[in-house]
Amino acid sequence: MEKMTEEQVRTIANMLRKRSLWMIHYCTGCGAMELPPTMTSRYDMERFGMSPYVTPRQCDILLVTGYLNVKTLRRLITVYEQMLDPKYVIGFGSCTLNGGVYWDSYAVIKRLDRYIPVDVYIAGCMPRPEAVMSAFKHLMELIDSGKANGYKLYKKNLAYYKENQRKVLG
């Protein structure tokens, strides 16, 4: 039996991971309305191998759909830390980019990237299912080329992320 090198194992692992991404069915905000159309028969998401699962222990992708209060951020960080490596985060909707419609609110987080590393952003105030699926395709390309390493960044810059979290959450 030939011994496989690290490179080959990683290539195969990436191929597997991009073919069967499991997302957590965790609806944070109003953007979650766009998930059922993506999952059901018309814009079927399951043909890419993606399917919703329930607990953070079982899935790979965390979809942050919509705005984030401080209250929700606390729970979200717990969920993110309970997921198993390798994990990817997709920021869904404009609220994760720069605050969206709540850009001058005191209770909403403006930039998600300061608290959790985000791999792919989807712009739009409700992105359509086609946009969601093209974002998934983009994520799969990132995984293939090895650039989707948000989780490694989280571990490396833990102090930075924790500092930001503590500033906001108290």
Binding site: R74, R75, V79
Partner: protein, 633 residues
């Protein structure tokens, strides 16, 4: 051993525990270590003597006479089997008691004395060769175990009261049967009784057997005479429960075996009664009572919240299996029933000892307060796990083989409804058995048990011995089958073919070879473990890092599903709980009380004149009876 005759050996076996008990009581007054030492020495001496008695079958060892009937001892392989259970379990329980019962909480002077007396009484019961000896030792066993039960605390007084009253009522039934037999035969040795029953009218025989059975069933807790058991076994102190539940109940089963197959042999039963499904009617009724016992006790056990009550109801269920097996009059069934008696003593003792250890360390036996103790008490967990696998009847532990034998025997006789009830009871056992291990050992560890350690060595040794015995009998049932098959041959059954590891084809409707099951399981386990280890390593997380939809789990939050574990199942079987035998007994008691109150006031009027007339009337009648007695009849 030829230099000690069997005669003396048997008398020594019966006397050793009594002597030991008295010495322990006296020695305990001097210093408590002497009491422990004497208890250990004498109980282990009994075990040693039992081993010397192996493979001996002899009857009629005379030791006295009473009312013109001889008092004899006897022994045969079935006696040896039960003697082994009695002495072995008592020795282990003495060890456990030394660790568990603490001196300052209660006065323990007579505890060891009563423990050894119970052992002696039970040895006397199984070695008895005639009914008077049996009855004498039966009564000694009843009241010494009553004294043991009431050591448990305040609630155990009520429980013990119910226990002794029902035992006495059963003993009266047996006494009436003995009086009837004595009137006919003038001797109560087993062989004479069998002769008398063979030659008397069928109704007499049936009456005698039914009365004896009532007395035995009170002790063996077959429904509907079981109501004393949950209270007595759960309120008794921790080392006493295994003795009661593992060994005492078997005396009822042993008595049933003697009544059915030494007095009323199978051929006789077939001649005097009609047969249903090729079983005599009386035996069929006994089987149905046992079957009801199995199913209803299982349902009750599933809904319990208290660890020892759960195990007590489970005892009722398992002794139903034993009685079911014994009342099937085929060799496979009787062998299965006796083997299950042996297995039940071992694994129920193991379970009660493990639960007793948990109570010793945590002080509570309420299942909704415990949890997560697997990290703190790993040895107790392994012991409980072995007991649970045996109780559920899953290979590779010993409960599987005995239950298999009972099922096969029932299937051979085409008694399918009883077989269905037995199966349902066994599957129900999965439910309450899992409840026990989950609520005590798995789940979240409450904060107040952070400092719990495992039990001391002297309490662990009995659990290890019993666990190893269970595994040995599970993988190699042939060892126990040696003794059992010789025993049932002695009573006239056809022998059954067996090998060291199971049963070849032809004995039952299928074949069984346990070693294959066990070895493939081991190999499959190792293979999947190696497969598991091939991938990346696991890291340990604390129990608070848990899925709660994002909420952080803190120690104050009770994140454990412990109360009402089978509430949904309870909704399904709620119609069954509408009636209960206990209420029937309470109605009867109340009725007697009302009846008694009414007439008591009439008789004891407090009027001196009435009392004088009572005396006059009674003296007149007595004088008339003495003077005219000879002439009138």
């Amino acid at each position: 051993m030829n230099n000690i005759s069997v005669d003396t050996l048997i008398k020594v076996i019966v006397l050793t525990p009594f002597v030991g008990g008295l010495l322990a009581f006296i020695g305990g007054k001097i210093h408590r270590w002497i009491r422990f030492l004497i208890a250990i020495v004498f109980s282990f001496a009994s075990v040693f003597e039992t081993f010397m008695l192996y493979n001996v079958s002899i009857g009629n060892i005379h030791w006295g006479s009473l009312f013109g009937s001889e008092l004899v001892f006897q022994t045969n392989p079935i006696t040896w089997l039960f003697l082994f259970i009695v002495t072995g379990m008592s020795a282990l329980i003495v060890l456990f008691s030394i660790g568990d019962m603490e001196e300052d909480k209660m006065k323990l002077d007579s505890y060891y004395m009563h423990l050894l007396f119970v052992e002696g009484a039970m040895a006397g019961i199984v070695l008895a060769g005639d009914l008077i000896t049996f009855f004498i030792f039966w009564e000694i066993m009843s009241w010494t175990s009553y004294f043991l039960v009431i050591y448990g605390g305040k609630k155990s007084l009520d429980a013990g009261y119910k226990y002794i009253i029902m035992s006495v009522i059963g003993a009266y039934a047996m006494f009436i049967a003995m009086a009837l037999l004595y009137g006919k035969a003038h001797s109560l040795v087993y062989a004479d009784v069998a002769n008398v029953l063979a030659t008397s009218s069928p109704s007499f025989t049936i009456w005698v057997v039914v009365l004896l059975a009532i007395g035995l069933f009170v002790k063996a807790a077959v429904m509907p005479l079981h109501t004393w058991l949950p209270d007595a076994h759960s309120e008794a102190p921790s080392p006493v429960s295994p003795l009661l539940s593992g060994v005492l109940i078997k005396m009822g089963a042993y008595g049933l075996f003697i009544v059915l197959y030494a007095f009323l042999t199978v051929n006789l039963a077939g001649k005097i009664m009609p047969k249903v499904f090729s079983t005599p009617v009386l035996l069929y009724i006994i089987q149905w009572l046992a079957g009801l016992s199995i199913v209803l006790a299982t349902f009750l056990a599933i809904m319990q919240e208290d660890a020892k009550r759960l195990l007590a109801y489970s005892s009722i269920s398992q002794i139903g299996y034993v009685v079911l097996g014994i009342a099937t009059a085929t060799s496979l069934g009787v062998a299965g029933g006796l083997f299950h008696a042996l297995n039940h003593a071992i694994f129920k003792g193991l379970l009660f000892l493990a639960v007793g250890s948990v109570i010793y360390r945590t002080g509570t036996r309420n299942l909704s307060e415990l949890g997560g103790l697997v990290k703190k008490m790993p040895f107790t967990f392994v012991a409980l796990l072995v007991g649970i696998i045996a109780l559920a009847g899953v290979p590779p532990m010993s409960g599987f083989v005995s239950k298999w034998m009972i099922y096969e025997a029932l299937l051979q006789k085409k008694e399918v409804f009883l077989l269905i009830m037995a199966f349902v009871g066994s599957t129900g056992a999965f439910l309450y058995v899992y409840r026990l291990v989950h609520s005590i050992f798995l789940g979240q560890l409450p904060q107040k048990y952070e400092n719990v350690k495992d039990v001391p060595i002297i309490m662990q040794i009995p659990m290890w011995v019993l666990a190893i015995l269970t595994m040995v009998f599970g993988v190699m049932p042939g060892i126990a089958m040696d003794v059992i098959v010789k025993g049932i041959e002695f009573f006239g059954f056809k022998p059954i073919a067996y090998t060291l590891y199971g049963f070849p084809a032809g004995t039952a409707m299928g074949s069984l070879k346990v070693i294959n099951i066990v070895s493939v399981l081991m190999i499959a386990f190792i293979a999947s473990w190696i497969f598991f280890l091939l991938f990346s390593k696991t890291r340990k997380v604390s129990q608070y890092d848990n899925y709660a939809a994002g909420q952080v789990v803190t120690p104050e939050l009770k994140y454990n599903y412990s109360f009402g574990f089978y509430m949904s199942f309870g909704r399904v079987i709620k119609p069954i709980f509408k009636w209960s035998i206990e209420r029937v007994y309470n109605y009867w008691v109340d009725a007697c009380k009302i009846f008694g109150d009414y007439y008591m006031r009439r008789v004891y009027t407090g009027n001196l004149g009435t009392y004088n007339s009572y005396i006059l009337i009674v003296v007149t009648i007595a004088a008339a009876a003495i003077l005219l007695g000879g002439k009138l009849w």
